[in-house]
Symmetry: C2
Subunit: 648 residues, 2 copies
């Protein structure tokens, strides 16, 4: 038994180590399947054509079968007259033989009669009793598909190891196969592990979270055409885990787990894999994804222990495990060509020393695809959902510069949204999208300022914004100048929202104004920097002369990403007060103390105004129906500039 202790491998080293072992392992078993059920399966035999295709000389147009030499001179002015001696339908065996001066009516796909060597298209002929006038010459072989010209009996048409797509199935049928030998599908068992995990929809208890990997990894496995079963959540107990994994090894080709791989969790998975066989990889030199363990059971099956955090788990799965499963499947071509080249819109620095996985969102821009890094924690389920893929920066690369091309490993097939709305979070946006039936929008709530930055980068088509200018106390119109976007954006009037303090029902802490935030008995929940609300808060605090709010206001450093996150914090008692829109206070059944009305507008990149979804968005914004529906939302109203261009 070979052991690799305390030596982290790079993903490339790990792949090489395991691939060498896999090569010596036997291919999966074979089975015979009907070609109608062979889609996505892997051929386990070379396929030779059983018949010629086409199996006979056939007409490829509707017209008249002729001897080319008879009509060689024919043209519009000098038609050639041929005697019609019969008709051949598709599937019929012609009995006649064509002699000079004769022709036969023939249908597309019909067998050519003896003596004929070309077909004149019906468009260039005229029937006249028993005769046909030919208005265009043909050369021998014209409009005829020759026997075996496409595929000849005996030709090698498909190779062993090919993953069958629908067109391969076309070829199989054309050359006479109704069944083929394929490798059996790899069967993969998956366990989530960890005492903190609960399956939805069971109610959450403190300290517990819903299991995600148990759904996402089996879904990814099925997407690859494998048989995957999620066998449940295992607690962090050595004996229980050992028993479950041992049983799964009897039935499955691969057993995968997630979680319980880090030192903090007592390295349970390591000990179990070691008990069941041999460890090939104990830790990867990647971030995130270090706690990855790969082993080989004594009965020759792959054991994979993935990290517990969903994003890390998915990235290691795609980068390292997917190619291994492909080889184990008997395939000689990769599962999917799920990689794209994209331009990095900003410099990324790593500290080197390991491979860095950086999740990215892909956005189409006039300069081509751009890979926009998402720099959030790997524990985030929404990072996984929002990112289209990730870049793997090798350990000897310390940075990638702005504007460089990177290869993005996609989680799935790339889909580009019809409109990309990045910026401040507002239920009004949802209303526009619903009214416009724009369902494939990408909406990313990162606050007004980040929305403007995304506009500048070109990753956003539209940004929702409510940034107050301290100097003029007006909203949004100062931004194009400030960001050097004067000629590049237009701003359209949005609507008015009422902003205020969100407090528990009955306002138990008796909050009346910003001065109450300084009280010792009040815990505040802040908003992220760059959000419109945060800008408002900081302007108000400054006016009050408070220059060190992080020291004087409890909770000031805790930054909620969205309005709803503020309401949620108040609702659950984690904070006593936050600032947000009245609409959300109402939604959460909380009390609301108005501070001021604010303008929420939409900045749009000029070079995206052509996009149908952008046009639709602006059209809805200006519509009567939107005005009616918006006015019905609590603490919202349209104004005379709603839907109109207000800049430039």
């Amino acid at each position: 038994m070979r052991r690799i202790f305390h030596r982290l491998l790079s993903p490339e080293e790990a792949l090489k180590t395991i691939e060498e072992r896999i090569k010596s392992m036997k291919k999966p078993e074979r089975e015979v399947v009907k070609i109608s059920e062979a889609l996505g399966r892997i051929l386990a035999e070379d396929i030779y054509a059983k018949v010629d295709s086409p199996p006979f000389d056939r007409a490829i147009v509707d017209g008249y079968a002729v001897r080319a030499e008879d009509v060689y001179q024919a043209d519009e002015a000098n038609p050639v007259k041929l005697k019609l001696i019969g008709e051949i339908e598709v599937g019929e065996i012609p009995r006649m033989e064509l002699r000079s001066g004769e022709c036969v009516e023939i249908a597309t796909g019909a067998l050519m009669p003896r003596g004929a060597d070309a077909v004149v298209m019906i468009e260039y002929t005229k029937r006249s009793g028993d005769y046909v006038l030919i208005y265009r010459g043909v050369h021998p072989g014209e409009n005829v598909a020759q026997t075996g010209s496409d595929i000849t009996a005996g030709d090698l048409v498909l190779r062993k190891g090919k993953r069958l797509n629908s067109r391969d199935i076309a070829v199989l049928a054309a050359v006479g196969y109704d069944r083929v030998i394929v490798y059996k599908r790899l069967r993969v068992a998956f366990f989530s592990t960890g005492n903190e995990l609960i399956s939805p929809p069971n109610p959450l208890k403190p300290g517990k979270i819903y299991d995600v990997n148990g759904y996402v990894i089996p879904a990814m496995l099925r997407d690859l055409g494998l048989d995957a079963d999620f066998l449940g959540i295992l607690p962090d107990k050595y004996e229980i885990m050992l028993k479950s994994i041992r049983e799964a090894l009897n039935e499955y080709d691969v057993v995968m787990t997630s979680g319980s791989t880090s030192a903090g969790a007592g390295d349970v998975i390591y000990r179990i894999f070691e008990e069941l066989g041999e460890i090939m990889v104990h830790g990867l030199r990647v971030k995130p994804g270090k706690p990855t363990i790969i082993g080989l059971s004594r009965n020759g099956k792959l054991l994979v222990g993935l990290p517990g955090f969903p994003l890390s788990c998915a990235m290691v799965f795609i980068h390292l495990i997917k190619p291994l499963l492909n080889e184990l499947s008997g395939a000689e071509e990769e599962f999917h060509y799920w990689k794209v080249k994209a331009m990095l819109p900003m410099r990324i620095e790593t500290r080197g020393g390991k491979t860095w996985y950086i999740p990215v969102q892909i956005v189409d821009s006039p300069r081509g695809l751009m890979a926009y890094p998402i720099l959030r924690g790997s524990g985030s389920a929404s990072t996984l959902a929002e990112s289209d893929g990730f870049i793997a920066i090798p350990e000897d690369t310390l940075f990638i510069d702005e504007g460089e091309d990177v290869e993005v490993n996609l989680f799935e097939e790339l889909r580009l949204p019809s409109i990309s709305i990045i910026g401040s979070h507002c239920p009004g946006i949802d209303l526009i999208l619903n009214l416009g039936e724009i369902y494939d929008a990408k909406v990313i709530n990162v606050g007004s300022l980040s929305g403007w930055k995304a506009l500048k980068l070109g990753t956003a088509d539209v940004a929702g914004t409510h940034l107050l200018d301290e100097k003029t106390m007006r909203y949004n119109l100062h931004m194009p100048e400030e960001l050097g976007l004067r000629d590049e954006v237009e701003i359209y009037g949005g609507y008015i929202r009422e902003v205020g303090f969100i407090v528990a029902e009955g306002n138990p802490k008796k909050i009346k104004g910003f001065e109450d935030l300084l009280r010792k008995d009040v815990i505040f929940v802040n908003r992220v920097k760059g959000s419109g609300i945060r800008t408002l808060i900081d302007i108000e605090l400054k006016r009050m002369g408070i220059m060190d709010p992080e020291k004087r206001i409890k909770g000031y450093v805790y930054e909620a990403k969205t309005h709803t996150a503020v309401a949620s914090a108040v609702k659950n008692g984690r904070a006593d007060v936050g600032v947000g829109i009245g609409y959300v206070a109402k939604l959460y059944g909380l009390d609301f103390i108005p501070i001021r009305e604010e303008r929420f507008d939409f900045a749009v990149r000029r070079d995206r105004l052509y996009k149908p979804a952008v046009k639709k968005f602006l059209k809805i914004l200006k519509s009567e129906r939107f005005a009616e529906e918006l006015n019905r939302l609590p603490h919202y109203r349209v104004h005379e500039q709603t839907g109109k261009r207000i800049y430039p």
Copy 2:
């Protein structure tokens, strides 16, 4: 009942006409599915988060939970000493409350204790009895994921109409769903029609061909996530077809057929669709694909009649029917982003007046993706198999110039081969690929000269060639100069093959030499222009003074694409003699009259020598094992230059 007679629609007009009708139709029925079975299904409800994610403040690293203000000053030189008051495992509810000067050991994912607002990574600490030394400061919130910071309860996380991918399923689990409401899968019935069709593996009779569409269209439908059933081949009989289609309408959401749509076949499908409802499209202004009929049954179901030729059928399906099925499914985003931009390596001219579908093969080149038109008949099954997709040239475009970018509609997900070998057909190539286990090669047999042209274009990495130079009577070495490829290619010595006449067993026509081809009682089968064999034939005929072979040799104008096609023609009696390699004569049990030995070499683009599969190819060519195996093939042998560079 509205009728559109004798007016062909463009694909865009057809799409618009039908989409308008579809909009007024009701959405598919809904059903509840477990999220573990929801992959690829279409959401029929908006999804709002049931819980916060994360549901509590949690550590995102292993380390010590602290009050940030306690360790603000800590660095390597001045560690801060904190009292360790406990430990929190993942999933556990902490009972302690942290006071100033204290810390708690905490695992990744564990719930933060009261009083703590940051976590110091274990790497920057040192345990010492009941105390911990902290070597790095943290700011409040560092290494902590805040409750709801990722997704907040009540957030709209997924919209109705979304096609669920594996990461959407991750989000569903994270926010507390184990089931969702989705639209029922569209059920599609498919019939192939035509008297000429037989299902494999039944033996072919004259005039019959194997049905292809019955396999490929249902496979494509399933690839789109629909329920598709192939209900068999229908004969061209009105009453039988009507009954079968009527029955299918009761059970399925969509009924599709292929074939029997053209005027030549009596327009049976048109008459049936008219009987069952209303015709929306009767003929498309596209080539190929004109005989396409689309209707709507009286019970509100889509009726689709596709052309019979597999390639036309597949192209119309992808371009026109796929988007319609998507809308009928209730989806608000397209099935797949199966389109790529690629550069056209040659000018294409159409005659305008209709949309032209041109099948293309995609090749990766140093200049990016190139779309290489395949200009063969639409009846060809191998054109469908070899093409990656097609370009649709609109009717107002008369040509697309060399070097222009085109949008390619892909049949399926794009896969690029590891090596592209275009040129002359030789079983020796199969041997190299098998020995090298290079299974994902793209091998296109188009003759030596076309192989050189593909090398020049950059679409081929390697070309197999056996072109005789009339002047020097040497093989291949004149080509780089002739095509202006002097600095761009290298030629590697291949092997010797014996070429001769292929005749029926016993040589019944007593063929001895080229002069026998002139005999009235001899039918010849030629090879395509640009093939090495054709070059040889034409040189020999010229030497004999024959300048008009197409008039003097029967069958001279019939051009077989491959050696095996020649042998097949002789075997089946369609020709008496052809020229080809001895190996194939032997394979077909035919007699062989040697003419000469020829050199088969490999030309390789220099800028592809880096490709692993190209390296492997050349390595195998030079290997002992290849020499042994090749010498075992009849009429083949290696020579002293096999595997060596012979040019430059």
